[in-house]
């Protein structure tokens, strides 16, 4: 068992790099996901993951299988879609989610078009579904850099995000532009999606953001609890998924996300709050006495 767990990590440098990359991503992507769920933007992450695709494709077409080029392209495409969607929503008064949905579809179609113009490529399946082999030391530095930056920015805007989620008017009254904070938050999300695609693939990267966050909501009602748990779930999924991927010869992205998915399903069934089991238990248990308050 111990051998099963550790031997791939001891024997292979690429597994160690993938492990560090997975842990670094698990430290920042799940907290972003917690904020996404709390802001009612659960599906925006998914849309942005699709939006990143044409940028990655352009990077691939121009520079071949170069991770910095593809990441940069993805980042640019993601920020462009987020920026355009934000502008259209502000200029027209339409809801931002519908603008994002429109732009990510345009972006996705452009991405598919670009890929088909070049003809299909085996390498590109790595882009879509992730490959632990893809994590060389350049990629690792990129991921660790993005994670560190995200951690710092998230810490800096943490209180703003919390207060804004609850009552945006309060912050506006204090002279903080909600739009700027929102833009920064979307930027962080895109940055993490592009950092995540080496191990997880562009379409799977959002999974490490959302599934730990949604699973954690069944276990905690406090923000710190949600963040800590989501990070822990992300890390367990990353490590477990990598090992599974290695031993079973499966692509790493789906392995990691499916593992997180299993944790989510178990949480939905047996979690402490609002799970199927918790609801059933509340029905059969007697009520608590009312508060000692008039």
């Amino acid at each position: 068992m111990i051998d099963w767990l550790f031997s791939p990590l001891v024997d292979f440098g690429f597994m160690r790099r993938a492990l560090v990359a997975g842990l670094a991503l698990s430290l920042v992507a799940p907290p972003l996901g917690v904020f996404l769920t709390l802001r009612g933007m659960s599906l925006v992450g998914d849309a942005m993951a699709h939006a990143v695709l044409p940028g990655v494709a352009v990077g691939f077409l121009l520079a071949g299988f170069s991770l910095p080029a593809m990441s940069f392209g993805g980042l640019l495409a993601g920020l462009l879609v987020a920026g355009l969607a934000g502008s259209v929503s502000r200029l027209t008064g339409h809801r931002e989610d519908s603008a994002i949905a429109s732009f990510y579809l345009i972006s996705l179609a452009a991405g598919v078009m670009l890929i088909s113009m070049r003809g299909s490529s085996v390498d590109l399946t790595h882009v879509l579904f992730g490959s632990i082999l893809a994590v060389d030391s350049t990629a690792l530095w990129l991921i660790v850099g993005v994670s560190s930056l995200t951690l710092i920015v998230l810490a800096a805007i943490f209180r703003i995000l919390v207060v804004e989620c609850l009552d945006p008017l309060f912050l506006r009254g204090q002279g903080i532009r909600g739009g700027a904070v929102h833009g920064l938050f979307l930027g962080l999300m895109v940055l993490n999606l592009t950092a995540g695609f080496q191990t997880l693939g562009t379409l799977m990267a959002v999974g490490l953001m959302m599934l730990p966050a949604t699973a954690a909501r069944f276990w905690s009602k406090r923000l710190e609890g949600l963040m800590g748990l989501a990070i822990a779930i992300g890390m367990v999924s990353s490590v477990g998924g990598l090992l599974l991927s290695y031993h079973a010869g499966l692509p790493s992205g789906p392995c990691i996300i499916l593992l997180a998915g299993v944790i989510y399903l178990l949480s939905a069934l047996f979690g402490r709050y609002h799970s199927v089991f918790a609801r059933w238990r509340r029905r059969v248990q007697p009520m608590l006495p009312p508060d000692a308050h008039g």
């Binding site: 800096a156 989620c165 009552d167 008017l169 309060f170 002279g175 949600l226 308050h293 008039g294």
Partner: protein, 236 residues
């Protein structure tokens, strides 16, 4: 210009203020002074422009013509929206909400010190929230939430306070607590503007009344506005 300097304790002045929503004119030529220590009730039928006026005062809506002159810095202006406007499923405790009123002095980065926590405790005690301090907002009753929201503005040491129907969906005990606290805030020098419907609450709380009707503002006092109706009605 001369008018706004007429009274030294005037915190907010409206000068021929006209406000529109889109291209529909909602309010025209509203004038008024809001002095420190006074509570003004803002009344009017649905759609009369109460929320529009509040938006204009908070700087959310640019005047079509006229001016809003506010002597109170942004940080000390507080706006208490209707509870429905807030996402109260957010995983935050009463204490955390109250402490977020430290924003003017602490901003995004500064750590709350023991002095602030003591002040937070005092605020929660004053509002009768001490036994709920660690309770998530989602598990509170309407009245308890309203107390917590007022706690934030107390923490903020708001000098100009606007409230939108603070007594809606609130229990009778909370109404009493809120009225006491608002009166005390006014006595400490705050100017308070409060959107109200209930006449009894208006007579108990307000010094002056600004009624919005057909796009215009009419100033009066609680006594003159409803001599006919009984103010002895018991609170719900």
């Amino acid at each position: 210009m001369a008018r706004s300097m007429a009274k030294p304790d005037t915190l907010l002045t409206l000068e021929s203020l006209s406000l529109a929503q889109g291209n529909r004119m909602v309010l025209e030529n509203i004038d008024g002074h809001f002095e420190a220590g006074t509570i003004t009730a803002l009344v009017g039928a649905n759609g009369a422009g109460k929320s529009t006026l509040v938006q204009g005062i908070m700087g959310e809506l640019r005047p079509v013509s006229g001016h809003v002159r506010c002597e109170v810095p942004n940080a000390r202006r507080a706006w208490l929206p209707q509870q429905l406007a807030l996402d109260l499923t957010f995983p935050m405790s009463v204490e955390e909400l109250v402490m977020s009123g430290c924003w003017p002095t602490h901003g995004s980065f500064k750590r709350y010190g023991p002095a602030e926590y003591r002040r937070g405790q005092a605020v929660m005690q004053r509002l009768g929230l001490q036994s709920f301090e660690h309770r998530p907002l989602g598990e509170l009753s309407g009245g308890q939430r309203q107390r917590a929201l007022l706690g934030r503005t107390l923490m903020q040491e708001a000098q100009l306070l606007l409230l939108d129907e603070p007594f809606a969906n609130v229990d009778a005990a909370t109404v009493e607590v809120l009225i006491d606290v608002l009166r005390a805030m006014a006595a400490e020098g705050a100017a308070i503007i409060i959107v109200l419907h209930d006449h009894d609450q208006m007579t108990r709380l307000a010094d002056r009344v600004l009624r919005l009707e057909r796009g215009h503002g009419i100033w009066s006092t609680p006594a003159t506005i409803g001599d006919s109706s009984s103010s002895a009605e018991t609170l719900a």
